[in-house]
């Protein structure tokens, strides 16, 4: 009896992309947490000396809260993409990933508004410098997450959302959720407690 040539069975592997993303997410989060810790420590030091951190009234709460709401909505849409990937539902998957990207873009636009409305000079003091360092780093992380989402969406165009690509969507969603949590830190530490 002769059989057709068959490839070897695929080895049983843990979800490689998920594990890698988990490590990358942890590294990103630790770096950002270090930055926020530095911000809090310097603010504490400035206040303990009786000084003012930001000039009163220089930071508005409205745009910051709107960004938090936008990112929370993006968490829902990215999870929608994960669900669509599980169900191999490409139209909904693209729509969900596209909406997530739209929300990400909206946050960047809102940050540009915040920068204009505060009008801080980066060399005006430690508070202003750290304000730009923390929020600028957040924007870099957000752009990286958007690139991850965009690549995942493009990969899903070339075929069905099978198991591997489904894992890619889950990995992108994991990173996105961590970005939303990073913004939560910014929102609470920089904007709420000022």
């Amino acid at each position: 009896m002769k059989t057709a040539s068959l490839p070897a069975a695929a080895p049983v592997r843990l979800r490689t992309l998920m594990v890698g993303t988990l490590f990358a997410t942890a590294a990103t989060f630790i770096g950002f947490l270090a930055l926020v810790s530095l911000y809090v420590q310097q603010r504490q030091q400035a206040r303990s000396g009786g000084g003012e951190w930001f000039p009163s009234g220089s930071i508005e709460m409205g745009p910051a809260g709107m960004m938090m709401a936008t990112l929370l909505m993006s968490s829902v849409t990215v999870q929608w993409a994960v669900q669509a990937a599980r169900a191999d539902d490409r139209p909904h998957g693209w729509m969900a990933l596209g909406t997530t990207l739209l929300f990400g873009t909206a946050v960047i636009v809102q940050f540009s508004f915040v920068y204009q409305s505060t009008g801080f000079e980066i060399d005006a003091g430690i508070a202003q410098l750290l304000f730009y360092a923390v929020t600028g780093s957040f924007i870099v992380i957000l752009v990286a997450a958007m690139a991850f989402i965009a690549v995942t969406a493009l990969r899903s165009l070339i075929g069905p959302l099978d198991t591997d690509r489904g894992h890619a969507v889950q990995a992108a969603a994991l990173f996105w959720h961590s970005v939303v949590f990073c913004y939560f830190l910014v929102w609470y530490v920089v904007f709420i407690t000022k």
Partner: protein, 517 residues
């Protein structure tokens, strides 16, 4: 009878197409061994350069009253002094371990490649570009701060140094993520994490420790960079003071400096029993010790720059971590000693460079942790003394010796031919002598009151001057050891000549090694 038309591997090779040759192979390859070799080759070259910089700074210290005889001034001396430290961490030791692990670990796990081969290639090129930026910018007047005023051009060069260091950190993190994912995801089904080979386990622990350490350094760099790029530096990027280095010096101090040496335990834990022909008793305990040492090496929390005048290093946690590191490494030494007792050690025979190197690396590391423990104990007041550099040098030397032992032991995964055993012994001996002389002179000078930055503060005595001369000899030996190791590795890294000595494929080479051991 069941027949198959062709082996699956043949199908795979046909689909992959011909492998590019020459330089194109180094740029386009997805082979983890080639990427690992590339990491190791470049970091060995950078290691020789960094060690040579160390010689210059040591020679300059011989006359503390005139720090401008060779390097041309206090700023130049400080640039080289910081380059020596930063380069050994970011450009030499971490990439050496990454390269060794990229070449060796997948094979140990039964995988044919890393989890993300293209990411490994990207991490190498990003690291190489970042390293070149760091080196060029430092020689253009950059670095991590200055001691005697700077020009606008030097300030720009400093921002370039920070940019390069940031790129290097991102690249190393990418490589670490790749390795950690490989160990977790590509190990054989049914093999628990504690059952993976000790070197692979130690690299997983190291990768996690680096993931907890390097991002914190990156955050420091972001703040300094933002300040330097602002119109007038506010607080963190004042280039006229050594404050920029002050924000990063925790990387070369305890406990973070031990993150450089976690893989040494894994290398010794595999090589010593293997060369003695026995199995390590209580292997799970050895793996736990490596994990514990990794935990003690997480050091981002201990930086003192931002908390001044309060200092975490005066607290019980810092002292406890410093003392616990000795206990942990001594426990591992005990496990190795037990293996030597049960194994077939014949004192009349010269041990192989792999066996001697891996064992001596652990002993040197134990010495480093011992002096590190003395450094953190309050009555000695050694935190700002040259003991800090002594511990750093001992850890670096242990890491270099451990890597050399790993290369000589796992050469079929890395080299084309077996490296010369006599050159291996010579390299280990020179690195050990250099490391011991450097570490001992700095540690003793610290007890005599020498500061970590010798041109600052009060220090000078005949004894310290003599110790500086010993340190010069040690740093020269370190250069020679690195040159000996690099020469042996480069000679055997080239592809086989069909008619040359030692010609043959990797399988034949493996048989040779098996017969030799």
């Amino acid at each position: 009878m069941t027949m198959t038309d062709s082996a699956p591997v043949a199908v795979t090779e046909a689909a992959a197409g011909p492998e590019p040759a020459g330089a194109a192979r180094w740029v386009t390859t997805n082979d983890c061994r080639i990427v690992g070799r590339a990491f190791m080759a470049v970091s060995l070259v950078l290691g020789v350069g960094a060690a040579a910089v160390g010689v210059l700074t040591r020679v300059e210290r011989l006359d503390p009253s005139a720090p401008d005889q060779i390097l041309g001034g206090l700023n130049s001396w400080f640039q080289m002094w910081t380059l020596y430290r930063a380069a050994f961490v970011l450009l030499v030791v971490l990439p050496l371990f990454l390269g060794l692990a990229m070449a060796v670990v997948p094979g140990k796990l039964g995988a044919d490649n890393l989890a993300f081969p293209r990411a490994a290639q990207a991490s190498f090129w990003a690291w190489l570009i970042g390293s070149l930026i760091v080196v060029v910018s430092v020689f253009a007047g950059g670095g991590w701060g200055a001691m005697d005023g700077v020009t606008a051009a030097e300030r720009d060069a400093m921002t370039l140094t920070l940019l390069g260091a940031g790129l290097v950190i991102v690249a190393l993190l990418s490589g670490a993520v790749n390795l950690a994912t490989t160990v977790i995801s590509l190990r054989p089904a049914g093999m628990s994490l504690l059952q993976v080979p000790l070197f692979a386990w130690s690299m997983l622990v190291s990768a996690v420790v680096w993931l907890f350490t390097l991002p914190v350094a990156a955050a420091n760099i972001v703040v300094v960079y933002a300040d330097l790029r602002g119109r007038d530096p506010v607080a963190f990027g004042l280039p006229e003071s050594p404050g920029i280095w002050g924000q990063l010096d925790w990387l070369v101090e305890q406990p973070a400096v031990y993150a450089l040496a976690v893989p040494v335990l894994g290398i010794a834990g595999e090589i010593v029993p293997d060369r003695l022909g026995i199995r390590l008793d209580r292997r799970g305990a050895a793996a736990s010790i490596i994990g514990l040492f990794g935990l003690l090496a997480v050091g981002g929390w201990s930086q003192d720059y931002f908390t001044a005048p309060a200092d975490h290093r005066d607290e019980l946690l810092y002292v406890g971590v410093g003392v616990a590191a000795v206990v942990v490494v001594l426990a591992f030494c005990g496990a190795l000693a037990d293996a030597a007792r049960r194994g077939s050690v014949r004192l009349q025979e010269m041990p192989s460079s792999a066996l001697a190197g891996s064992a001596l690396a652990v002993v040197l590391l134990a010495g480093a942790t011992f002096f590190g423990a003395l450094r953190v104990i309050k009555p000695f007041e050694l935190l700002e003394r040259s003991t800090t550099t002594g511990v750093f040098n001992a850890v670096v030397a242990a890491a270099l010796i451990g890597t050399a032992a790993g290369v000589w032991h796992w050469w079929p995964e890395i080299l084309s031919r077996p490296p010369s055993e006599s050159r291996g012994r010579l390299a280990v001996l020179l690195l050990l002598a250099g490391g011991v002389l450097l570490a001992a002179s700095d540690v003793i000078a610290g007890f005599l009151g020498a500061g970590d930055r010798p041109f600052v503060g009060d220090y000078d005595s005949g004894a310290v001057g003599g110790l500086n001369a010993v340190a010069v000899a040690g740093s020269v030996l370190l250069v020679l050891g690195l040159i000996a190791a690099a020469a042996a590795v480069f000679e055997t890294m080239r592809p086989d000549r069909p008619d040359g000595p030692g010609a043959g494929d990797a399988a034949a080479a493996g048989l040779l090694r098996g017969a030799g051991s």
